[in-house]
């Protein structure tokens, strides 16, 4: 075994606890909510990472988590958060993918779905199968009575005055959220 192989082996050996610890920093438990690792978010996370990015992504993940000190043994809670923040700042694309994948895996857990539903927000793991109960539209009470709105019939479409628009000469540089 080469030194490189030995190093890879060591990283992979601690990958399972490292991913679990990372997931628990993203999705800590508390106030009745299970932590991410408690319900196994790390398993679909790793599977999907490989599905989307190939097997080499596993080693890259191990190296990334190693750089931030995962599985965070001996680190106090604030230091763990700071470690994850450093990954967020230094590897935003990778971090963003892992965060989103972890969130998705967490909320497709039947355990979490059941907890959301039990807390008062109707929610189902397979809503398409059983649906949600909603009352039928009530024409007597839910038909709009505002009488607002108009349309121009075909034979009444007439030229509008566009002379003041100056679309060819006045340009809008700041548009969208920059407006």
């Amino acid at each position: 075994m080469t030194l490189q192989d030995a190093k890879k082996g060591a990283l992979l050996a601690k990958l399972a606890p490292s991913v679990a610890a990372f997931v628990d920093e993203l999705l800590p438990g508390g106030d009745g909510w299970p932590s991410g690792a408690t319900i196994g978010v790390q398993f679909p996370l790793v599977e999907r990472l490989i599905e989307q990015n190939g097997e080499q992504a596993l080693m890259a993940l191990a190296e990334t988590l190693d750089r931030i000190g995962a599985p965070f043994d001996g680190m106090d809670p604030d230091a763990r958060v700071e470690a994850v923040k450093s990954m967020e700042a230094n590897e935003p694309a990778r971090f963003g993918w892992l965060r989103d994948a972890a969130f998705q895996a967490y909320y497709e857990s039947p355990i979490v779905v059941t907890l959301i539903d039990a807390a008062g927000t109707p929610y189902k793991i397979l809503p398409h199968v059983s649906g949600y109960d909603l009352p039928r539209f009530d024409r007597a009470t839910q038909t709009p009575r505002h009488n607002r709105g108009r349309y121009i019939p075909t034979d009444q479409v007439a030229p509008v005055d566009t002379s003041g628009l100056n679309l060819d000469t006045v340009k809008t540089d700041k548009w969208g959220l920059q407006r």
Binding site: Y106, I116, R139, R148, G149, W175, G176
Partner: protein, 540 residues
């Protein structure tokens, strides 16, 4: 090369318009073959039937053809828009939302109104009867009596449930004195034509139970019952023409066996959507004497907002669209631009995971200790708002073929370019301000706007609507087809998909595209004998 027998009609593409065309012509007793590059989507293949449905909606069921790896797709590149489509029997209806509003009469007369868009060669009144008949074929839902639209008969099924989100929005519209109306939907609120009523699941990207009209379930069974033949996994490589300029059929590849087949036909109908149709015409070198094939791509000016309110509105439940707002649908030049826009108000993300990862506005839940508090306050409290406007055509906004890159069959890779013009930018600014108004009127504690511009400022709109790329008109020099969808250059070739729309209106186009396709198919049916010999296309 295998020579197939000659058909009366060859239809290319089995989506909404190919399905309707095939049905009408097969029911008339014609020998119709439809070629579809994809396959049937079985019910259990849809994301809806799996516990990881939200993940699938972002990955293998992602409607963006450039962000999934699916063997039924063709190669496509874009420097701007997100091209959303699905390639399978039923086409993009396998993944659409089926919001079902109609065009307005003025949408067909923009040439008269301001001249920056063409008049259509037909009017609203020409299309209206076909809206009703398409509704009856598919099953739709909605409420009549909207004063902002021409009168119309009742929908086949009544309005879908008026959700808490709809109620909240209606209060906001009322506060502003703006028009609103319950959304029309290509979804049935009662059992209809052997399909079950909507069960309010909220997963409105296609619908394997068939409550939403996906055409593989609502139209194709009727077409096949009438004797039509549907060849799946058949990728058309070229539309063939003879020395007289008439189409003689198509050369296609059986994607399962690799066999190359030539099918002859008396009439060819192209129904491959606003990207696929210009791709095929350009690759075949036909129909483009006007140089308009692929040009004037329209998406609609689109911006959006996500709002969160204190009340629990449970937007994860119910049909995806809640109310439509038509207050600004007509042109008012005092706003600083021509054309108008609608509000397409939705419910919300059906998935907590989608909410956490940035649904609609891109606003994500925080990670760490504040995550659960954020979600408790926001999941079930969110509403999504779109403003969708009529964009002006620009010939440089287009679908075109890459000059060097080809796919495995030697077909040039199709590319898309789109950027909004001056009028569109002004409209988007105005729309964003009005979305802010609406969010505030609803009492939202947070309003996040989305202009769909990336970090480099490029407008990357989610483009379900890819229209205008083979537009209809009165003049062969500025349009691709006449008012009956007949190619000016190839008189027995008809284009029936959304590429023929001359303007985009302020609404989701599938109802109009479908009505037009039904109208065109009946024209072909009623004039079939003449069309099998005609050598010249006339203005409709």
């Amino acid at each position: 090369m295998t020579a197939d027998k000659e058909r009366d009609v060859l239809v290319i593409g089995s989506g909404a318009t190919g399905a309707l065309s095939t049905m009408v012509l097969a029911q008339a007793g014609l020998d119709v073959l439809c070629l579809e590059q994809g396959g049937w989507v079985e019910k259990n293949e849809f994301a809806h039937t799996h516990t990881n449905w939200a993940w699938q909606r972002a990955t293998n069921w992602n409607p963006d053809i450039t962000r999934r790896d699916h063997p039924d797709d063709y190669m496509m590149g874009t420097d701007s828009s997100q091209p959303l489509m699905w390639n399978a029997v039923g086409g993009s209806t396998n993944a659409y939302g089926a919001i079902w509003p109609r065009y307005r009469p003025s949408d067909f007369r923009k040439g008269d109104e301001h001249g920056m868009q063409p008049n259509w060669p037909i009017a609203y009144e020409d299309v209206a009867p076909f809206y009703e008949r398409v509704d009856a074929i598919l099953g739709t839902s909605g409420l009549t009596g909207d004063p902002a639209m021409p009168p119309r008969p009742e929908c086949p099924t009544g309005p879908l449930p008026f959700t808490k989100a709809a109620k909240k929005l209606s209060e906001g519209f009322d506060k502003l004195g703006w028009h609103w109306w319950p959304a029309e939907a290509g979804v049935i609120s009662e059992d209809y034509d052997g399909r079950p009523a909507c069960n309010n699941c909220g997963l409105c990207n296609g619908c394997p139970r068939g409550s939403m009209s996906i055409y593989s379930q609502s139209v194709w069974p009727k077409a096949l019952e009438a004797g039509a033949e549907l060849q799946t996994h058949a990728r058309v490589l070229k539309i063939l023409t003879g020395p007289d300029g008439r189409a003689t059929g198509a050369r296609w590849k059986n994607r399962v066996t690799g066999e190359i087949v030539e099918t002859k036909a008396k009439i060819v109908i192209v129904a491959a959507n606003g990207v696929g149709t210009p791709r095929l015409l350009l690759a075949s070198g036909i129909g483009n004497s006007s140089d308009m094939v692929g040009r004037n791509l329209l998406h609609h000016t689109l911006v959006s907002a996500q709002i969160w309110v204190d009340e629990q509105v449970d937007g994860q439940m119910g049909y995806v669209a809640s109310v439509l707002g038509r207050e600004f649908a007509e042109t008012d030049t005092s706003r600083g631009f021509v054309n108008g826009f609608n509000f397409n108000c939705t419910t919300s993300a059906p998935s907590a995971g989608e909410m956490a990862t940035g649904w609609m506005s891109g606003t994500k839940a925080p990670w760490g200790k504040d995550h659960h508090t954020w979600m408790e306050k926001r999941f079930g409290h969110s509403i999504g708002l779109f403003a969708i406007g009529d964009d002006l055509p620009n010939p440089e906004n287009r679908v075109y073929l890459d000059p060097t890159e080809t796919d495995e069959d030697g077909i040039p890779v199709v590319k898309m370019h789109y950027e909004p013009g001056e009028n569109d930018k002004r409209m988007m600014n105005y729309m964003l301000d009005r979305l802010q108004d609406l969010g505030e009127a609803c009492g939202a504690f947070d309003i996040q706007l989305n202009d769909y511009r990336d970090a480099d400022g490029v407008y990357r709109t989610p483009a379900w609507h890819m229209i205008g790329t083979c537009r209809m008109g009165d003049d062969p020099a500025t349009s691709v087809v006449n008012g009956w969808h007949q190619s000016w250059d190839v008189p027995n070739m008809f284009i029936v998909d959304g590429s023929v729309l001359a303007t985009g209106g302020v609404v989701n186009p599938t109802p109009t595209i479908s009505a037009l396709a039904l109208r065109a198919a009946e024209y072909i049916r009623d004039n079939f004998v003449d069309l099998t010999t005609t050598e010249r296309t006339l203005a409709a």
